[in-house]
């Protein structure tokens, strides 16, 4: 419940405040979102398995987003930004899907 409330508060805040994202930060936004999705799915799965831990969740969220953005930034500086972001998306996508499979097993027993 508290998770849903947090998410709604965040979306409303984002829509109301209309923060202007500086141009240099814009390429990292989608990657950061994919990383955040990964952390959230991991949290949901842990919650369903009864091993949720707040500290792990917070740390994994922050480190995921920051590291994903950093990797893409580094790739941009080296001239392989698009390839590196593809790699990041692939790895995070695999993790998201495996977490989603875990959630599905817990919820539906299938």
């Amino acid at each position: 419940m508290i998770a849903l409330i947090g998410l709604v508060i965040g979306v409303v805040l984002g829509l109301l405040l209309h923060p202007d994202v500086p141009l240099w930060l814009q390429p990292y936004l989608p990657i950061a979102i994919v990383a955040a999705l990964d952390a959230m799915f991991g949290g949901v799965r842990a919650r369903l398995e009864g091993i949720f831990d707040e500290k792990v969740f917070v740390v994994s969220f922050l480190s995921n987003t920051v590291i994903a953005a950093l990797i893409v930034f580094l790739g941009d500086e080296l001239g392989v930004g698009s390839q590196l972001s593809t790699g990041v998306v692939v790895v995070l996508g695999i993790r998201i899907f495996s977490n989603a499979a875990g959630i599905r097993r817990k919820l539906f027993g299938a």
């Binding site: 805040l13 989608p30 091993i51 740390v59």
Partner: protein, 275 residues
Amino acid sequence: MSLLSDLFAGKLLDPGYAEAAARRAASGGTRRRGGRLSGAGVLAVLAAAGVLLAVAGVQVRRSEPVAAKERARLIDQIHARTGETDALQRRLDRLRADTGRERAGALERSAEGRRARRDLAAQAAAAAAEPAAGPGLVVTVDDAPAEGRGEDGGDSGGRVYDQDLQALVNGLWAAGATAIGINGRRLTPVTAIRTAGEAILVDYRPLTGPYEVTALGDPDRLHDAFTGSAADRRLRALQERYHMRYGTRRTSGARLPAAGALRLRYAAPAPGAGR
């Protein structure tokens, strides 16, 4: 710890939670019971994720109108420039008509001038310098429909080439046409019909199919003279072999504009002439 081997083994890809749970169990459950979503940290993190999502969504939607605006601006520019050239063309036509009238008035004054004027009119008609209208023959050719193209011809088998149009135009001249235009573009005796890439250029301007070649002249005589000519046979063969579109029809009132810029090749102003 390889990603793929872990994935195939069905193991957790992120063992952080399991390790934390194991640590808790080892320390005798002194920490808060796991499995509950609680605390300000979770709230803050999810709020941050929500902000990220919302900002990204807003960003995407904001950049759409920018692209649309750019496109609209370009289209406006194209329209404005096209209007400018049209206005210039109209001005050119008006000035040409003016000079033509003044020349006619000047030549009218003497018998020699009247003869020169008749000469000039005949030359202008031959050089396609004046608009022409009258009955004529319209020949339509077009690329074969995509599914009807012959296998042996491949992709390029059913396309109209510049040589086809050249042969057609020459055939129509030979059949006695007095003026010819392709898709409303008047041909002079020296107008080039060429291919550049996949487009056919007439007078260095690209045309798209279907190509309507209008020849002015007595429709029946034109038709009789053209039927069976080399150009007619060539196009018929193309039609049978590649299913290219080819057809002729008579028209009672075709209009052809004057040809574009006429360049004087050999004439030069007489030294010391002019007012």
